[in-house]
Symmetry: C2
């Protein structure tokens, strides 16, 4: 039962990231120092472009999971700082390439790197960060960690291509969508958390538990991300609202609205996802249809299911500050409005 | 003296790739099998796009250097097949990203992947091949090889960004140009050859010798590539002739023609590299100026210097078929017209 796991939090209060932020604050300071140091290069364009995105903030969820996982495992060393930075570099590289692929205008509330620096530099600096990530892992020297993270990176790339293939295809199923977000998002959440158990030299079962926590949290996180893009009650997400709609991305709110819609509504979705309805009034209509069929709420309900699985995956660890903070982070992933 | 090293070849004959192709034929069959097997994915777009480039041929110089280096070291195992495939995947990934960055139309004599499949898919499949390359290295399990290749990959990415920064800048020096091609091309040639000594468990000095062979060969190779783009006597290169000119790339033939030119000629180069002279007649004029000042020949002379250094770098190995074939490959790199 999740009630036991999240017992530190008063019933009825809103879940928050505050406990996991407090838990990981010291560790994340070290991780951020590695990130800043290792994004440097003698080629000035590299730190300029990388810094544009990296100093733009972001929640740093993935390296935070490595640090939190290390706390949960009682790890006392510092190896995970470099590895957490490697995880963030993989993520940053995929964000840069995503923004080129999607032709994004906004990222983390400011102009996307591709807009400021152009597509060519954005592709190449993404490549640089990706290679730098592998250099960090090789410096650490654990083949087991290298295997986990290189496999995750490969799965992410496959997921990105799969998402591209599904784009503008109205017949995309919920199963296919779950497979895509499992690859493009959850694989790195899983790997980031799992490697904490590896550096702490915990058992294979504990590795798998951390992997399951990260994977389920990642799915919940992405589901809510995709819900927010159509949620009229959410704050700004830092990217342009309606981007998914205009790009014809088949996310769960759309899949559900199409499945639950009337024949007339389905015709609208077919035209919209094919790219023939991209005006502001079309987006407003899409939001209205999604609300009419409770698809934002249904997407959040799906997310709740995965968050619960994440919480239960780490229930075998002894009760401690780290376990409570990680459980609340999973609850937060569902409840968040930004 | 190189005369000793290349003693198997009759004086006065044209240097050829035939000896290194014969030397590496069996090994390259195994490497090609790994390449074909490991570019597969359940996402059909991945093998379709990767296969478009990979089945388009190419000389496979880099994996061939790994195989040739293994022969030179008398290595009897098969570990280098997987690693040579990893090297080719790194190269393939950079070609795909280069074509997006340059907006190329042609590659290896056919429509470039970005033209056939679009920029988004080309970026993402490049990422996939890059991650697959690391998976292959991790499977091999040598941290020393991982260090050499991850460092090379990082240096390549820096070189690509540096080249982008130098583009359309007429004041780029020969030194800067050499630094760029040392990173974007020679680093992978060096690493590809060096890892043969690692798997063969040869001495550090032998590792460094193979590294120097590959690095100098890579510089010679790129110099001649850049010469061919302006060489009226060369055959088709498989890419569009004049691409470098239209993209404002500061390659050595241009650097020399600018340095040796009159005030009027310099004005032409300034306008052309800035992007204001991109018509066919401008390209014809550029070729004429480059010929007037013997800049193709001068670039080939520079290449000859590096090829000689490559040949001398492996002079300490006992005379054998592999050493002769590698020496002749360096001579071929200078003499080639395609």
């Amino acid at each position: 039962m999740s009630a036991e796991v999240v017992s530190l939090r008063p019933r009825g209060s809103q879940p928050s990231l505050a406990p996991i932020l407090a838990l990981t604050a010291a560790g994340m300071n070290s991780v951020n120092a590695v990130i800043l140091e290792r994004m440097q290069s003698e080629i000035p364009l590299i730190p300029a472009l990388a810094g544009h995105l990296i100093s733009g903030g972001g929640k740093r969820m993935r390296p935070m999971l490595t640090v939190a996982g290390a706390e949960l495992c009682g790890y006392q060393g510092t190896r995970h700082h470099k590895l957490a930075a490697a995880v963030e570099f993989i993520h940053t590289a995929t964000l840069l390439h995503d923004d080129v692929v999607d032709g994004s205008d906004l990222r983390r509330g400011k102009a996307a790197a591709n807009i400021v620096f152009g597509n060519p530099a954005t592709v190449l600096v993404g490549d640089f960060l990706f290679t730098r990530s592998f250099e960090l892992m090789v410096e650490d020297g654990s083949l087991r960690v290298l295997k986990i993270l290189s496999n995750a990176a490969s799965v992410i790339a496959e997921g990105e291509v799969d998402q591209l293939t599904a784009q503008r295809h109205i017949e995309t199923s919920e199963e296919r969508y779950l497979s895509i977000i499992g690859s493009k998002t959850a694989a790195l959440f899983a790997a980031a958390t799992r490697i904490a158990a590896v550096v702490a030299e915990r058992s294979e079962a504990e590795e798998r538990a951390l992997d399951a926590y990260g994977r389920n949290l990642g799915i919940a996180f992405q589901l809510v991300d995709d819900a927010i893009d159509y949620d009229s009650e959410s704050q700004e997400s830092g990217k342009d609202k309606g981007d998914d709609f205009r790009e014809g991305k088949m996310t769960l709110p759309v899949i559900l609205a199409y499945a639950r819609g009337t024949a007339e509504e389905r015709k609208f979705w077919e035209e919209a996802i094919a790219g023939f309805r991209t005006e502001d009034e079309d987006l407003a209509h899409a939001v209205e249809l999604i609300n009419r069929h409770d698809c934002v709420a249904a997407t959040r309900e799906r997310a709740r299911h995965y968050a619960q699985r994440a919480i239960d995956a780490i229930a075998g660890f002894p009760a401690c500050e780290a376990r409570s903070a990680m459980a609340e982070a999973a609850e937060f992933a569902v409840a968040r409005r930004y």
